[in-house]
Amino acid sequence: MTNVINFARRNLRVFFRDRLTLFLSLLGPFVIIGLYSLFLGNMWGYGETAGVTREMVDAWMLAGMLAVTSVTTSMGAFGIMITDRSRKINKDFYCAPVRQQDYAGGYILSAYLIGMILSVGTLCLAQGYLLIRGGDLFSVGTFIKVLLLLFLVVFSNSSLMFFVTTFLRSDHAFTTVCTAIGMIIGFLTGCYVPIGQLPTYAQWLVRIFPPSHAACLLRGAILKPYFAQMKLDEESVNILKQELGVQLSFEEFVLAPIGNAAVLFAAGVLFFWFAGRVLSRKQR
């Protein structure tokens, strides 16, 4: 375990030293917040749907952004693994008296920690953004709930990204995939445009993409006080929740938050297992 921790410490240092990787892994969230401040935020008809305020839309956007951050930052963290491979730095590791599993563990641990650190950082920035725009502070309860959710969300999303990066060999391929994911992830998680306004096939893409379930849970936690203030009957609130991607429904079946959590956990375990399979096949 000491080896895993030591190696993860090295990875953390390498990651935070490299401004480009850091920027690249925050590209997704930057794109969302940029697009929002400039265009998308103005396209909402505030007040038309009773009780949807600008502040609520801001919070909705920030919740989605938080989910995206956990994906792109853990992806960026796994970039260290790719660079080690492409620059043959891993040769040096291989020739030290440390087991290969410890290195894999070190990469995973550092990706998880980087995902957590940057997601919590983003959460704080999101709070700042809300305050600047005239909103309120998160309640302590909301903050703690979001924090706890992030543990699961980052686990699931970093596991997915671990799986994706096992297929990448070169720095170039990694940068390309990173940029592509940074760009499209906003759509895939229903962050640019609420899921309710997407065509049916696109809605399905969103539903089956595990990070959407993360966005869903985070929106639920952050938007709860706003829904509580709404003077709408329960059915209208539920429709609005589905429209905004606070709840995901499969035909008639509406997935409860515990369901979202189960999807995230299962996806996390599954992709982890897949990634392990891919790696061990390569080693043989």
Binding site: N6, R13, R87, K88, D92, A96
Partner: protein, 312 residues
């Protein structure tokens, strides 16, 4: 003297291409051992196997008494490898690099700090500790790589073409460091190179070509065996001298107005000069170089094989 590296019948194939064919040698403890060969001879393959990175197809290898393939971790604790490609993190400082790599060997706290410091001192980089690895010059990077290989105080230092791409001054500096390590610390140094003049510094030289050992011995032995001393003559009348040599059946080469005669040993020059003194302005006896010895060992085989380019 104890044999600290023992290699018997080493074989390695990449697909159908045999990179190493029945390579056997041993290295005495505390010696500087050079593996010399042209590009694609199998030097790096040998190095990758000795450093436990690559698995051989056949053969037995013992490093510091431990069998390769069975007790690799024991070997890894006792060897330090300087790879051809720089393998440190460009964004981290010299000191950070050494600390993180040292930690892989179970070093920590004050001991780690001490070994990092002394490794930097040995290679003369103590002033560069806070500098980022990526900002160092080529020669400094190489020295830092060596410091990394020394951080866990290994018994054997393996260096894969450490001077490639360095300017002559850095090369000299690096060699001084290597020799210092060998003589002061009694470390066994195993180095691959394609520079003959570097191989001259070694206690023992092994020449590898097309994956096979083609010559071995001390630099002096190789030089004696494979390189000629030459008698260089500046003739009064080139045509007349050449005619005389042909008549007396003395083989020679002529170039740019001079005549070169290969000597079995330099003493032979005295008799020749006496016979030819009336025909020459001046003469010079040139001793054979390692360069020549190397070319004599490797060149004929290249021509035989004819597939050298394909291998590179």
């Amino acid at each position: 003297m104890k044999q600290i590296i023992e290699v018997r019948g080493l074989e390695k194939k990449y697909g159908t291409l045999a990179a190493l064919r029945n390579v056997s040698f041993s290295v005495e403890e505390g010696k500087l051992f050079a593996l010399l060969g042209p590009d694609g001879a199998g030097k790096s393959t040998t190095m990758d196997i000795l450093s436990t990175y690559l698995k051989p197809d056949a053969g037995e290898v013992y490093l510091a008494g431990y069998p390769l393939g069975r007790e690799d971790n024991e070997i890894r604790k006792r060897i330090g490898t300087v790879f051809q490609e720089g393998v440190l993190d460009a964004g981290l400082t010299v000191e950070e690099n050494l600390r993180y790599r040292g930690a892989l060997y179970g070093l920590q706290g004050g001991i780690l700090q001490k070994t990092v410091k002394s490794a930097l001192l040995v290679v003369g980089l103590e002033d560069m500790a806070k500098r980022r690895y990526g900002q160092l010059s080529g020669g400094q990077k190489r020295r830092c790589d060596i410091a990394r290989a020394l951080v866990h105080t290994p018994q054997i230092l393996l260096l894969d073409e450490p001077t490639t791409g360095l300017d002559p001054q850095s090369r000299q500096h690096l060699w001084n460091t290597i020799k210092k390590l060998q003589s002061l610390a009694g470390m066994t140094v195993f180095v691959t190179t394609h520079y003959m003049e570097e191989a001259r510094e070694a206690d023992h030289v092994l020449v590898l070509d097309h994956g096979e050992i083609v010559a071995h011995g001390t630099p002096q032995e190789l030089q004696r065996h494979y390189a000629h001393d030459w008698l260089m003559l500046v003739p009064k009348d080139a045509a007349a001298l050449q005619e005389k040599l042909r008549r007396e059946e003395i083989p020679f080469q002529s170039e740019k107005g001079t005549v070169r005669i290969a000597l079995k040993d330099s003493m032979e020059a005295i008799a020749l000069l006496q016979r030819l003194s009336s025909d020459i302005h001046s003469f010079q006896v040139v001793t054979g170089t390692m360069e020549e010895a190397f070319l004599a060992i490797v060149k004929p085989r290249k021509e035989e094989g004819g597939n050298c380019d394909k291998r590179n």
